[in-house]
Amino acid sequence: MVQKVLIVDDETHIRALLEQTLEELEEDYDVEILSASDGREGLSLIQKERPQVVFLDIMMPEMNGYEVCQKVKGSPEFDETNVILLTAKGQEVDREQGIMCGALKYMTKPFDPDEVLMIAKELLGLDE
């Protein structure tokens, strides 16, 4: 079964960097990388595609990351979806709010590509 990873970020270059970071998952494993450029599009892709892993930005137009995370993690049907908040908001209070919303992890930008890849592999059960 194809596993899916979704990137939700309104900044094009961050999306491109994340896609590039996760590219080897598509090349080496049966993984599909999807992306969305705002919270609303992200939520609709989560509902439609049911990705196993979502890298979710917080400050976005339409719907922010906290709201998306709350909607997804508030519903038992998305138990299998792991949300990782990836954001420039590095304050402890932001981190706490992120975890309260049901996010599995909270990473700050600039992100470490190796760490992102490692987390994705781990959550997809692909770690060596």
């Binding site: 960097l17 590219e23 090349e27 470490d112």
Partner: protein, 469 residues
Amino acid sequence: MPAISLEKFIKKGASPVLIEIINAMDTSITIQDADYRILLGDDDQRLLGGYPVELSGQVIGWVSGGDKAPSVASLLTYLAGKELEKKTLGRETLDKYKEINLLYNISERIAASLELKEVARLIIEVARRSIKASNASVMLINEETERLEIIAAFGKENDEKTILMTGDGIAGTILLSGNAEIINDVLSDPRYIEGANNVKSMICAPLKTKDRSIGVLNMSSNEPVFYTAADLKLLTTLASQAASAIENAILHKKKLKEERIKSNLERYVASQIVDIIMEAKGDISLDSEMKNIAILFSDIRNFTATCESLAPKEIVGYLNEYFTQMVDVIFTHEGTVNKFVGDMIVALFGAPAHLSNNERQAVQAAIEMQKRINSTPDSWIREHFNTGIGINSGEVVVGNIGSPQHMDYTAIGDEVNIASRLQAIAKGGQILVSRNVFDTTKEFFKFNSMGKVKVKGKKRSIEPFEVLY
């Protein structure tokens, strides 16, 4: 260079556009990969041959089916080329991003560490993430031996105990030149010193602080590697961050050492004098020299007889309490405790740090020592410890005296002997000083002249004055 799989390329992005174009052509087109597996088109039309889809001179697939097939093959070749360009650019951008992220992280992490080896280890860990290497090391100059020594290492460098003279080998010359270098063919470099490590390529950057190189950051590979200018730039940046962090760690280590020395010194010398010694730059010498100082001898009268009935442990207990009180008084008056001999205390005023009023401080200390014994909370000490104190002043030799294995900072000279004699003739509770001390302090204290006294071992008699307190 990244690889392009025609199958993934068609599945991921190109498929809807291709189907649209092929439909518009109104002809049957089959696209197969290099192994003739059908990727798009009719499964029954598996064919050998067709028109090749090429990428960097290699066939990655075939297009067949009618006269439009060559155009579709050309289009796919063009799109695959563009995809490759995009991927290459994407990878380069990601590499740059990783580099920035690396430098961002390293500053935070090494700034948080003040331990030399930990900083060196972190730098190696970070460098390895971006620069291909089978071995890596951080070498620092040992200031005493002027040799390059490995502080932290990875790979075979770890086993190597080779210590380089500055100027020797590739690392040694880079240390001196202060310029980072790539040596992609190490074996043909005349500076290379062959060791257990079978190195083929290396990259090395000096660890430069404001004005000098303190060591090198070395990375090498046992397989031939083509290190690039970008690798060199990154290594130089890392080395520069490492150098300042290492310098901080060295300074921190020195500071800790100073604090240890200070704390040891404080057992012998008043803390204000310790500060003077620690801050002095060459002004205070522990080498032997003639100095004008005051010397105080203090001894408990009939100590052996007094303590006869006590167990050794009890004697040590009382003595420690007594010495603690006396040393406190001596330090308060900026004196230096030269030594304890049995129950006797020898203190110097004016060495190793200069005092402007040696004699006055010594006499004041002696008075307080007597008073302190009389007011000590321990009644046994109050009743049984009666001390006689003698003080003299004058020019003596002071400095580190002894053998290389054991040295004492002490004072030697006739004036020291006179102070000792004065102490010997002082009764319990009495403070006797020489004429010299009397002359310089008579306006501050009351004295009682005792006339001239002949003492053991001295041809000329001495003239003690008793301090009245």
